[in-house]
Every structure is written in structure tokens, then in C-alpha cells.
């Protein structure tokens, strides 16, 4: 069961990484968002939230069943797993904040949407690092 959840978590995380690039691109110029763009932006944030929530769900089992063996197998991988968790938080909170900013910004607030686009880019980069580290750590030791 945990193996399945871990796999779903990983796949949703990779999807989130790709999805976060979309709001970064559509917000880059600062133009007002269409209705469909707003829906896509909300979906991207929801995807990151889902990936993070799945990670939180399996974290207790990771600590009990995997963590000790992972550190025995490779200390660097164990420490990088922790880094991955923290980068996932950066990705989530950046996407949430930028999502609120992009959706709340009035049509004339071009600068705010441009800044939100840059924050989404930062979120996408953090998410990409998270996915890469997660994949590597899972290859060292897993459920």
C-alpha cells in the first residue's frame, strides 16, 4: 500500500512540476488572465497541494520503515531526503502565495502579475529539484 502511495506521490509531483511552468509563462508578461487561464492556474496549485498532502500522508511510515535503513545505505541520500521535503514546502508556499496574488490582482495590476509569474518560476524550479532528489533517493532505498 505504501509503495503504491509513494508511486502516486512521485507521479503527481512530476505532473505538478510541469504544471507550475504554465502559470509562470502566462503571467510573465503581466497581461490580465482569461477565465480558462484562471482555471488552469488553480489546477496547477491544486496539483502541488495534492502532491504535498500525499507526501505528508506517507511521511510517518517513511520514518518508521525506511529512514533508518536509508541512512545506513547512504547518509547523503538520507540528508538529501530532508532537503527534498523542505524544497517541497518552498514550492507549495510559493505556488499558494503567487496563486492568491495572480487571482486577486485587478486587471490593471500588471506588475503584480509579473512578480507572481516569477514566483511561479521559483516554485517550478523548487518542485523540479524536489522531484529529482525524490527520484534519486527512491532509487537508493524505498518501501
Amino acid at each position: 500500500m505504501m509503495r503504491l502511495l509513494e508511486s502516486v506521490h512521485g507521479h503527481v509531483g512530476v505532473l505538478a512540476m510541469a504544471a507550475l511552468l504554465h502559470p509562470a509563462l502566462i503571467l510573465w508578461s503581466g497581461r490580465p488572465l482569461s477565465r480558462n487561464a484562471r482555471i488552469a492556474l488553480g489546477a496547477s496549485v491544486a496539483l502541488v497541494l495534492t502532491a504535498f498532502a500525499l507526501g505528508l500522508t506517507i511521511y510517518p511510515a517513511y520514518r518508521e520503515q525506511v529512514k533508518a535503513d536509508l541512512f545506513r545505505a547512504d547518509v547523503r541520500a538520507g540528508l538529501l531526503f530532508e532537503t527534498k521535503e523542505h524544497l517541497a514546502w518552498v514550492s507549495l508556499i510559493s505556488a499558494l502565495g503567487a496563486g492568491v496574488a495572480a487571482l486577486a490582482a485587478p486587471p490593471k495590476a500588471i506588475a503584480i502579475r509579473r512578480i507572481a509569474g516569477r514566483v511561479f518560476l521559483g516554485s517550478a524550479i523548487a518542485c523540479a529539484l524536489t522531484a529529482a532528489l525524490g527520484t534519486w533517493v527512491a532509487s537508493v532505498h524505498s518501501f
Partner: protein
């Protein structure tokens, strides 16, 4: 008050919350590493900062920063100044948060 002002305040507050939440969590990692190294770090960190508690504190920092920003950005001039500052600082600050996450695993 201009009709757009409340929405701009909310938007700027969201951006500040994103940065504060990221940097706040990075600083918590630093706190967890005080006086510790290598394998000892791991044990001490888990004793000092529970993962879920750390997330809750970082979320609190983000929300608090957002609320304070919304309160401070009460005029058009202050909002414009905040937007200019954010435009310059947002990527360096997010980059700093990512670097700190690697520095304090």
C-alpha cells in the same frame, strides 16, 4: 479609497506570504542545526523541531507576514513602493531560501 486597492493589497500580501513562508522555514532549519553536526544533527533536529510543527510554524509566519503587509500597504504610494521592492527582490529571496535548504538539510 480606489476600488482596486483592496484587491492589490490582497495580491501583494500573497506574494509577501510566499517569500516569508519560504525564508521562515529555511530559518527554522538553521535553528534546528545550531550546535550540531553530521549524524548528531539528525537526532537533535528531530528532538528540537518536529516536522509537522515546523510546517505549522512556517505557515503561521507566512499568514502573519501577509496580514501585516495588507495592514501596512494602506495607500497607493505604499503599495507601489512594495511592488517595486518585490519586483527586484522576489527571485533573489526565493533563491536564498532554496540555497539555505541545501545548506541546512
Amino acid at each position: 479609497m480606489k476600488p482596486d486597492l483592496p484587491r492589490r493589497r490582497a495580491a501583494v500580501a500573497g506574494l509577501v506570504a510566499a517569500i516569508a513562508g519560504s525564508l521562515g522555514y529555511a530559518c527554522e532549519r538553521g535553528y534546528a542545526h545550531i550546535g550540531a553536526s553530521d549524524m548528531v544533527t539528525i537526532v537533535i533536529r528531530e528532538q528540537r523541531v518536529n516536522f509537522y510543527l515546523a510546517l505549522a510554524i512556517a505557515l503561521f509566519i507566512a499568514v502573519l507576514a501577509g496580514l501585516v503587509t495588507a495592514e501596512l500597504a494602506s495607500s497607493e504610494a505604499r503599495l507601489a513602493a512594495l511592488e517595486r521592492a518585490l519586483e527586484r527582490l522576489v527571485l533573489p529571496l526565493l533563491g536564498l531560501a532554496v540555497v539555505l535548504m541545501f545548506y541546512w538539510p
